[in-house]
Amino acid sequence: MSVKNIMLVGVGGQGTITASKLLTNVLMDAGHDVKMSEIHGMSQRGGSVSSQIRYGENVACPVIELGSADLLVAFEKLEGLRNLAYLKTDGAVVVNDFRIDPVGVLAQTAEYPPNVIERIARCVDTTVVAAYDLALEAGEAMTMNVVLLGALAKRMEMAPDEWEDAIKKNIKPNYVDVNLRAFHLGYTN
């Protein structure tokens, strides 16, 4: 199998790091060689964040080259647009219909661009997920990241059981149920 590239992008504090941990565990348990690269640090304070995950038979390097991602999962829609150049021309996007204003927008020195999702969808195959609403339905807004993983798993045509195991193994016991609900809502909607 050739190497596949998945990129998770969002805003510091949205849970991209936990999501990438779950994803890499699932991929490793499925027998793939896996490499992952992530930048933390300054980016935590509400800045842009991204995790790059690569898997296949033999992965050479941990970062995704511009123009070579198969899937881009945007936890916040503007971050999806910002990182579109990482996708292959025939890559696909899973985008959360969710907006977080950058400081410039809050301070009214910049504008949040209009029609972000439409612009993404014009370029590539796009799946829109209302992850915030689904996370609330699951019972906890914080599970938005796992809703998105559900949608990603569906998009990757993976069966849910391995994901359930990873959630049970990696998430604090008190939060397992709500995250399992979140995962399934993402998977089925």
């Binding site: 510091g12 640090g41 509400g46 647009l81 292959k88």
Partner: protein, 593 residues
């Protein structure tokens, strides 16, 4: 056993499996997680936060001389702080193995410079490994300890952000048990008075010759032959990048043990390929060595010196093009820089400072560096940890000399003050400078993810520790005017600033309130009752649409584009700064929250 580990985790895991007894570090991205991992396993290893990197390395040197394996880890600029012991320990050598880990930051994701610490290995005559992935981190760490003991020398492991923070699969080895070689007095080896150091210097140069032979022989330096039209010499993560781009269309010489360089092997490799390229992130160190050995090669003529050598940059440099993705424009996509969190206790101070004239605002390194940004613009200079106070001192002397009314204000965090700010404050007092020093005591080392420090009452493994009392320290150094304020009470902050600039002598203002991301301790809960339990909201009838609340620079506040009415989102944690600056009293406590 196989595990998916980051480079930092692999280093920590390897240290435990190598029987390391003592680990010391000061936090710094991207090295922080190494010690964090170790401190979480205090049943297996003794691991501690030192107040700074020099202390960390000196402590590790002591532990190694006392006969047990020891390590110190730090970010690249940390090795500048620890450079003094590093150079001289290369003369004395060790008792049991000593490994120093430097985590460099090509691309400066969270650093103030992009220095290439491989120079330190050359400069200090210390052997160096450069792992490319987590497996190599694990393996090289073990080999580094063996090498350290065989050659009686500290060993440097140079990592970079992508190696520290990337995950890949690691095959673990059988753990070794801890050991101790009881200390024997040996002044000829350990006491670096000139008469002894002269001999040690000769030994060090001889050792370097032996290490050259090791470099030729070690399996960490190897050739991988495919198509021979292109030959690539690479180290660290660049090796992986190169293989990603060139695959089997090139041959590779991988340099895993990079000081001293395996130059004879590279010469032989060069003779088998048509054209030789050197791929290394940042400075042309291998390239210079290779070229001065009479080997023709292409390096920085083609590849960038600044930033990360990411695959797309290699492709662009080599093939003149990038892979093309979907066509779209980013023109109207605003940047998303990091900001002070909603509720950050630094906000009140920067709001107050931003509104004042006649101040030279000497900044330092931590979350509070973000006070430089709009709307505050309340930092004029940032150099390195501790520099705020000493640079404010130098500036104040010049202002005074030329009869300027300017007042120098140093802005420094609690962890940074205890790191190196303390020495600088000593100079302010000793040299009679009228600097205003503001210590932003948020009860934690926040920027690097919330590590404890000597001021917080806990050690690295969350055991109780004595609290370094900042007021008592300032007093003991000779500062006469010291005040502690709650930075969320703007009146208190303004009054303290007025008071400090009215004095003709040095003063210290401590702003004391815990970081909003801090896991509160019992004593925090007693001292800071009610912190972060409230939320504010806007009374739209009272809001005058003046947008003054935006000058709090808080990510929880926005103003409607059309009506200009303010609103506060759910990330509010009730610091109340916006409520204090609203001229219409329109920002009010939210009930039933």
């Amino acid at each position: 056993m196989k595990q998916l580990l980051t480079g930092d985790e692999a280093i920590a895991r390897s240290a435990i499996d190598a029987g390391v007894c003592f680990a010391s570090a000061y936090p710094g991205t991207p090295s922080t997680e190494i010690l964090q991992e170790l401190a979480a396993q205090s049943d297996k290893i003794y691991a501690e936060w030192a107040p700074n990197e020099k202390v960390a390395l000196e402590s590790a040197i002591g532990a190694a001389i006392a006969g047990s394996r020891a390590m110190a880890s730090m970010k690249h600029v940390g090795l500048n702080v620890a450079a003094d012991p590093f150079f001289t320990n290369a003369y004395t050598g060790i008792g049991a193995g000593l490994v120093v880990i430097t985590a460099d930051e090509p691309g400066m994701h969270s650093s103030q410079n992009e220095q290439d610490n491989r120079h330190y290995a050359y400069h200090a005559n210390v052997p160096m490994f450069e792992p490319s992935n987590s497996q190599e981190c694990y393996d090289m760490m073990q080999t580094a300890f063996e090498l350290s003991e065989t050659f009686d020398v500290p060993v440097l492991i140079r990592m970079t952000t992508r190696v520290c923070h990337s995950k890949s699969i690691v095959e673990l080895k059988e753990p070794k048990s801890k050991f101790n070689i009881p200390f024997k007095k040996n002044q000829e080896k350990y006491v670096t008075v000139p008469a002894i150091a002269r001999q040690l210097r000769i030994n060090l140069l001889q050792r370097n010759e032996k290490l050259k032979k090791y470099s030729i022989a070690t399996a960490y330096n190897y050739a991988e032959m495919y198509d021979t039209a292109i030959g690539i010499v690479a180290s660290g993560v660049c090796f992986d990048y190169a293989k990603e781009i060139f695959m089997e269309n090139a041959s590779y010489y991988k340099v895993g043990f990079s000081h001293p360089m395996p130059l004879d092997n590279i010469k032989e490799f060069a003779s088998k390929v048509d054209k030789l390229y050197v791929l290394e992130e940042n400075d042309p160190i291998m390239e210079t060595m290779i070229k001065s050995y009479g080997i023709q090669a292409i390096g920085k003529e083609l590849f960038p010196t600044e930033g990360e050598m990411l695959p797309e940059r290699i492709r662009l440099a080599f093939y003149g093009e990038e892979l093309s993705g979907p066509k779209h424009s980013l023109e109207d996509v605003p940047p998303r820089p990091p900001t002070l969190c909603a509720g950050c206790p630094h906000r009140g101070l920067f709001y107050a400072l931003g509104g004042r004239d006649g101040l030279f605002l000497s900044g330092d390194i931590g979350c509070y560096t973000l006070g430089y940004a709009p709307p505050f613009n309340a930092i004029d200079t940032v150099t390195c940890m501790g520099a705020s106070i000493s640079s404010a001192h130098g500036a104040q002397k010049i202002f005074d000399m030329f009869d300027s009314k300017m007042r120098a204000v140093a802005i420094i965090g609690d962890s940074t003050f205890l790191h190196t700010g303390l020495n600088s404050l000593m100079s302010v007092a000793y040299n009679n400078s009228k600097v205003v020093t503001i210590i932003l005591d948020n009860r934690i080392t926040a920027m690097t993810g919330g590590q404890h420090n000597p001021g917080t009452g806990f050690n690295a493994s969350m055991g109780d520790a004595p609290i370094a009392d900042l007021t008592a320290i300032a007093k003991a150094l000779g500062i006469k005017h010291i005040k502690t304020v709650n930075p969320n009470m703007l009146d208190e902050v303004e009054q303290a600033l007025d008071w400090a600039v009215s004095l003709d002598e040095a003063s210290v203002i401590i702003t004391r309130w815990p970081c909003v991301l801090k896991k509160m301790t019992e004593s925090d809960n007693t001292e800071f009752t009610g912190a972060y339990t409230e939320k504010y909201t806007v009374d739209e009838d009272a809001c005058s649409s003046c947008a003054i609340c935006l000058s709090a620079g808080c990510p929880a506040i926005s103003v409607d584009n059309d009506t200009m009415l303010a609103s506060i989102n759910d990330s509010c944690v009730g610091c109340s700064i916006c409520a204090q600056i609203c001229p219409s009293e329109a920002i009010v406590l939210k009930e039933d929250n």
